[in-house]
């Protein structure tokens, strides 16, 4: 076989694997979406026809929709806290040398890599036994604000490292004081990374089941509702709500990817 043929085969192999992977990533989701419109909502065969009834039932389920709004509220508050803390911490890490800096950084990454079960339990016994706080909405917010921090930290610090500090000096040089410099230059330049960090923290909170499970108290969040839906085998609503979420995320992601270079923030936070 000559060189060109080998090249072609290798290329074919690469594209083949990549294509197969996309199929792997998508098939179960597509099946689920199809099932959300199917009368028989738990498997494709025997196929019994199409219906929108599952969607009707889902959006009529005030408990489920309420839980979704609770989750959104938790995600928004906790991601905001994580973003504020994370951006400040990133500035410290990127700009200053200080004792125990590595430890600080490691501590900041840790919430992301501690298994949810363990973090959830630790928070539960901490809130309950040590602090005597009754778990609920706010304990989930607190837990998720810590959980979301690493995502902001990682994305923003790596953007920070490539941030050209001479931009700030240029602003100072042109007559801006430190605060104006931050407002006029630092923040706008970092904004896409900060936005990406917020988005990540938001999604991590919104999709978290296990931490919320332990510390939610009587608050109903979407994931715990979905969890019991799966456990009870209430597939129709589960399919419908899941499909709805995939759809919303797709639209938002498409908008975000057209508006800014989300892909590079997610995939390659080194920036350019």
């Amino acid at each position: 076989m000559d060189h060109e043929t080998i090249e072609r085969l290798i290329r074919l192999g690469l594209y083949g694997t990549a294509g197969a992977l996309l199929v792997f990533l998508w098939v179960p989701l597509v099946v689920m979406m199809v099932l959300s419109f199917a009368v028989n909502s738990s498997t494709l065969f025997p196929f019994e026809g199409l219906t929108l009834a599952h969607y009707g039932a889902t959006f009529a389920d005030s408990g489920l929709i309420g839980a979704m709004f609770t989750s959104m509220a938790i995600a928004t508050i906790s991601a905001t806290i994580a973003t504020v803390l994370g951006v400040l911490a990133s500035m410290a890490l990127a700009r200053y040398e200080f004792p125990y800096r590595e430890l600080y950084r490691t501590l900041g990454i840790l919430p992301m890599v501690i298994p949810g079960v363990i973090f959830g339990i630790a928070m539960l016994i901490y809130f309950r036994t040590l602090l005597g706080i009754v778990p609920g909405f706010w304990t989930v917010v607190l837990t998720h604000s810590v959980y979301g921090l690493p995502f902001v930290l990682l994305i923003v610090t790596s953007r920070m490292y490539t941030f050209d500090e001479s931009l700030e000096e240029a602003a100072r040089d042109l007559g801006a004081d430190p605060i104006e410099t931050f407002v006029d230059v630092t923040f706008p330049v970092l904004a896409p990374a900060i936005g990406a960090g917020f988005l990540f923290a938001w999604i991590r909170s919104f999709e978290d089941f296990i931490r919320a499970f332990f510390v939610r108290g009587t608050a109903n969040v979407l994931t715990t509702s979905m969890f019991s839906m799966i456990k009870y085998g209430t597939a129709p609503k589960m399919n419908a709500i899941s499909t709805f979420i995939v759809f919303v995320v797709a639209v938002l992601l498409a908008i975000a990817m057209n508006a800014g270079d989300v892909a590079s923030y997610v995939a390659d936070t080194d920036g350019e």
Binding site: E169, A170, R172, L174, G175
Partner: protein, 361 residues
């Protein structure tokens, strides 16, 4: 614009010293920049040029020494309050602002237009920014994003942004080093032109001695945190104060030799039987001597005989490496003009006009 007002001291550095922990970046230097002049600071990488410039602009405060601008001590004055503006090596244009917004930014921060409440300050700034974009030949580019411009155009935006504030001193840190050769040549000409059209002094930092020589009214040569020499380009090139300056500014041949003075005048002996008459009598005994490649002349009966080992054609001149018979360093000799009188392997002899060698103790 116009009419530089030379002769009056604008910036004065007095014993400026800057230490970073153990590192002494700038080791006590004094010089002054005059109103309206084009002053360059040159030296090898790491010699302290940027540190000096950042001290003037206010981003570093000196460990020791006094800096004053326009007679006012700058101690404790932050960068934004100084009458200096900087053109950064990597330009540092604000990527989230248009070209015009970049130029307007300094105006806005300085409260321009000040005094009475003008009708539309925004428009006034935009207008002035436009004038400065004209100055740098970028009319009509105001609405673009900086990233949509070529390297040379970005360079000019950076200039306009700094110039629009009409700083007493415009500080430029290697502004041309990221450009390619053609553009660099072009921008050199532009810089001179712009300097002439504005009133402020330019303080230009570079390790490229060619650019500095071409552009400057005066040059300061720096090495390892210390000043070696300050003066106009011709003086620096023709009368270098130290071997370092001779070597750094232009190409040169450095030898060690002994100075003998007798009835015939002064001569320097580089090795047994190799000696040249010299006019320079500044030094005596064991000396270092600098002879520029173009100061050698290929003659039939020179005192220095050697073999041509390399010949580099350079278009308007030809460069030779000559291995002398005597036990001295390889020579670099330049023959200017179209003629390339000798070739590799030729045995040649060279001589030097007595006014050419420069001696150092």
């Amino acid at each position: 614009m116009a009419t530089a007002d030379h002769g009056e001291t604008l910036v004065e550095l007095d014993g400026i010293r800057k230490e970073y922990g153990d590192v002494t970046a700038v080791d006590g230097i004094d010089f002054s920049i005059e109103r309206g002049e084009f002053f360059s600071l040159v030296g090898p990488s790491g010699c302290g040029k940027t540190t000096t410039l950042r001290t003037i602009s206010g981003f570093e405060s000196p460990t020791n020494g006094e800096l004053s601008i326009d007679g006012v001590s700058m101690a404790g004055i932050p960068p934004e309050a100084r009458e200096t503006n900087l053109v950064f090596q990597h330009l540092s244009l604000f990527p989230h602002m248009s070209v015009s917004e970049n130029v307007e930014y300094g105006l806005k921060k300085s409260g321009f237009p000040d005094g009475e409440e003008p009708d539309d300050p925004e428009a006034r700034r935009r207008e002035l920014a436009g004038e400065y974009l004209d100055l740098v030949d970028l009319s009509g580019y105001g609405d673009r994003n900086p990233t949509e411009l070529s390297g040379g155009q970005q360079q000019r935006v950076a200039l306009a942004r700094a110039l629009v504030n009409e700083p007493s001193v415009l500080l430029l840190d290697e502004p041309l080093s990221s450009l390619d050769r053609k553009l660099r040549k072009q921008m050199q000409v532009e810089l001179r032109r712009i300097h002439e059209r504005t009133e402020g002094a330019f303080f230009y930092v570079t390790h490229d001695q060619e650019v500095a020589m071409t552009l400057s009214d005066r040059i300061a040569v720096m090495n390892e945190g210390k000043l070696e020499q300050v003066g106009p380009p011709e003086e620096i090139y023709r009368e270098p104060a130290t071997p370092f300056v001779a070597d750094f500014i232009g190409d040169t041949n450095l030898f060690t030799g002994t100075v003998h003075t007798d009835g015939d005048g002064t001569a320097i002996e580089l090795a047994d039987g190799v000696s040249f008459a010299v006019d320079d009598t500044a030094a005596d005994g064991e000396v270092t001597v600098s002879i520029r490649p173009e100061d050698f002349e290929l003659v039939d009966d020179g005192t220095l005989v050697g073999t041509v080992t390399e010949r580099y054609f350079q278009g308007d001149s030809t460069n030779y490496r000559i291995e002398p018979e005597a036990d001295i360093e390889t020579l670099t000799v330049v023959a200017q003009g179209r003629e390339s009188p000798v070739d590799r392997g030729d045995e040649v002899s060279v001589t030097v006009a007595p006014d050419a060698p420069v001696l150092f103790d």
